[in-house]
Symmetry: C2
Subunit: 166 residues, 2 copies
């Protein structure tokens, strides 16, 4: 009967800035285990779960879904040496890293595009003439991707869709 300190669900929730519901959910998914208890008794968590929760948060932050985290933990149970867990985890990390790199590039392009559009919005005086008549004199014409899809004689896009004016 070692009187090791144990946590109540609310303590953990506060400690990690999450709700009890989330913790129960993790437990439901098998990411976490509370100590044995009988029906209706409040959960008690050993200190270990603090590490677990921290790890869950880490992995979550690194973009793993809870199901993936569960897999890793499952694997860890079967693999006392830690060898394949480590490999798997490293693989996942590398995967995420590559993905992050892609995202970064996309983000860069995105920002570049946004900047361009902002600039354009500031300079283009005839908003509804774009795409349309304004294209003729548009200095962005070559970069414009709307143009590609639009035939010369098309007019304004915006006002009144199928509307009454004819």
């Amino acid at each position: 009967m070692t009187k090791r300190p144990s946590y109540r669900i609310g303590d953990l929730a506060r400690l990690f800035g999450i709700t009890p519901r989330a913790i129960r959910y993790y437990e439901e998914l098998g990411l976490l285990y509370s100590q044995d208890r009988n029906d209706g008794e409040h959960r008690r968590y050993p200190e270990r779960v603090v590490v677990r929760l921290k790890r869950i948060q880490q992995l979550k932050d690194y973009g793993l879904a809870l199901s993936e985290i569960a897999e890793l933990f499952e694997m860890a149970k079967l693999d006392r040496s830690g060898e394949s867990v480590r490999n798997q985890l490293a693989a996942k990390y590398r995967e995420r890293l590559a993905e992050a790199a892609r995202k970064r590039e996309a983000l860069d392009r995105y920002m570049d595009d946004l900047s361009w559009h902002i600039e354009q919005l500031e300079k283009v005086t005839d908003f509804f003439g774009c795409p349309g008549a304004a294209c003729e004199s548009c200095r962005w014409f070559e970069r414009c991707d709307v143009r590609l899809v639009v035939s010369r004689e098309d007019r304004l896009d915006s006002p009144e869709p199928g509307s009454e004016r004819r």
Copy 2:
């Protein structure tokens, strides 16, 4: 009765690499309008919607939710001059840009972190001893965030949670 060419839903779908369902959904959200028709008739879209769809895809790519795109279009209807639409759009874009910048920074930190963890995984031999005994001699100790939360005498986290072995 000008016989202007009009699109069928499937044409548009193919043209934009989306499904007819998606197009109907856009229409349902008021992002798109087809020409008047009676019950059960197939939808016909004027050429204009090609521009619309292109724009929707652009805005979507730029991270706007469909609801936001709808807002913009709504605004455009009320504002023939295009002035406030332009401002609003520019504001949204700037917002997205700032957000993207934040994301980029976060992404950089994230990648840095991931790299570190990968490196660590490759070097740390005692996976389950981390955090735990291995902390004493861990060369990453200072960067470790698990340590912050773990008391000295805590042991392995991974194998067997509340388990049978004692």
